[in-house]
């Protein structure tokens, strides 16, 4: 705990300072609260409005978890397939990158036209934003396996499957976790965007309702909720990383 305080006081101080400046300037310049509410107002709304929006949060969390899990599985399977079949990788890698150039905002309404207002188009959107960082990081992790260790395994008589399971897969884990961290935060965004399209619950819905009725304070509550959710997902991934990768020397890629 002491360590956390020691490492965390600088960023915390910056954030607190930022809020103080924000609070003071909104009273000092008399900014109307429909334009930019003061942090204190946002806090009040956040506390008082809890019964009105907590079901939205719950719904977004559900959507994110489902979408993220499917995205992970798809991303990992794509990565393994591309890695084990180099020809396929050559053929499909560019397509995979192209898939990320389609603006989600444009694609999302199309998905609603094709799949209706149910879970399906939303999960597709989240999967689409999630799978890419995971697939790319996993493929890179597999490919960067040290040639020396591969030689060793080959000369020791290991089969292709053994080389993959015992060498390439564990070797790719740190890289894979970098991808997971990016995907975890993207997946919350993906969930919120997909809720804009048409849903009856979720932070995205709450946000649209708030902004169309000029409840800027609620918009900010939604923004902070999204940030907190992203942080939570990120923390979950970091704890999983610590659980899975115990062997890493201290100070090397000890991301925080």
């Amino acid at each position: 705990m002491h360590k956390v305080i020691k490492a965390g006081w600088r960023p915390l101080l910056v954030i607190i300072l930022l809020f103080i400046i924000w609070e003071l300037s909104s009273t000092f310049f008399e900014i109307p609260s429909w334009l930019l509410p003061a942090p204190s107002e946002i806090w009040q709304e956040g506390v008082a409005g809890w019964p009105n929006y907590h079901h939205h949060i719950w719904s977004t969390i559900q959507l994110t978890v489902i979408g993220f899990s499917i995205g992970c599985i798809v991303g990992l399977m794509v990565a393994i397939a591309l890695h084990l079949m180099p020809r396929v990788r050559e053929a499909f890698y560019p397509l995979m990158i192209l898939s990320q150039n389609i603006p989600i905002i444009v694609l999302a309404p199309l998905l609603v036209i094709w799949f209706g207002f149910g879970m399906m188009p939303k999960i597709i959107v989240i999967t689409l934003v999630c799978f890419f960082p995971i697939a790319v990081s996993a493929v890179d992790g597999f490919r960067q396996t040290s040639q020396e260790l591969i030689h060793y395994m080959k000369m020791a008589g290991a089969s292709k499957g053994q080389i993959f399971l015992k060498l390439e897969l564990p070797h790719a884990l740190p890289s894979l976790f970098s991808g997971l961290k990016i995907s975890a935060t993207y997946s919350v965004m993906g969930a919120v965007i997909s809720e804009w399209l048409g849903a009856n619950r979720g932070i995205g819905v709450y946000m649209t309702l708030a902004s169309s009725s000029f409840r800027t304070d609620r918009v900010f509550v939604a923004i902070f909720m999204i940030m907190i959710l992203c942080m939570l997902f990120f923390l979950v991934i970091i704890s999983l990383e610590k659980l899975f990768i115990k062997w890493r020397p201290k100070g090397e890629g000890n991301s925080k």
Partner: protein, 245 residues
Amino acid sequence: MSQLIVENIRKSFHKKTVLDDISFTVEDGEFVSLLGPSGSGKSTLFHLIGGLYEPDSGDFYLDGKKITGKRGSISYTPQSPSLFPWRTVLKNIMLGSELFGKPDEQEARVMLEKAGLGGYENAYPHQLSGGMRQRVAFVRSLLSPQSFICLDEPFSALDELTRLEMQKWLLAIWGQNRRSVLFITHSIEEAIFLSDRIIVLSSNPATLKREFKIPFPRPREEDILLTEEFLKWKKEIYQELKVLQ
């Protein structure tokens, strides 16, 4: 029981001949060193024995069976220890037997104890010193199901003092269960101290130059490093290598 016969091996890469008509034999329980300048294709020879590539011509026989281009017939330790960083020492040394489905944890623990690595079972490679990592790598070779061991300059990255320590350690461990060993080195002293026989290779392309039978009795102590006879051998081999250049 393992005897390796290397027969008329030739190999070239991009029209450049690396190995030219190499033939020799390693008898059962014998410790043979391949001595030659750096870049003389010694490692290539190991890769060929290990089946990583096939020679252009010539064959390898292990106990009379042809193993040319066949992987998994020998136990190999590369120049760097090549330990898996995510495996503990114990898991690392069991890797070789794990590939063939019968890891014996008890045997591995006993072996670690014998190798002076007791207490490090659960350490990760990055927590060990360079010399210790090499020990682990060698114990891994000993525990592999293949009985013929190929060591590729295992001590070249170590400092002089650790090196001597490791050579003594290697001799002690090897003395306990005399496997056939083919050892690559570019250090004359190391070759004399460790081997029963030294094969001198020339470079560009590597050809078999001369063989020396080293008569020092075993077990060997480090005192022999300073004897007249040791120096005589060193001089003779040195001259042979000098002629090559």
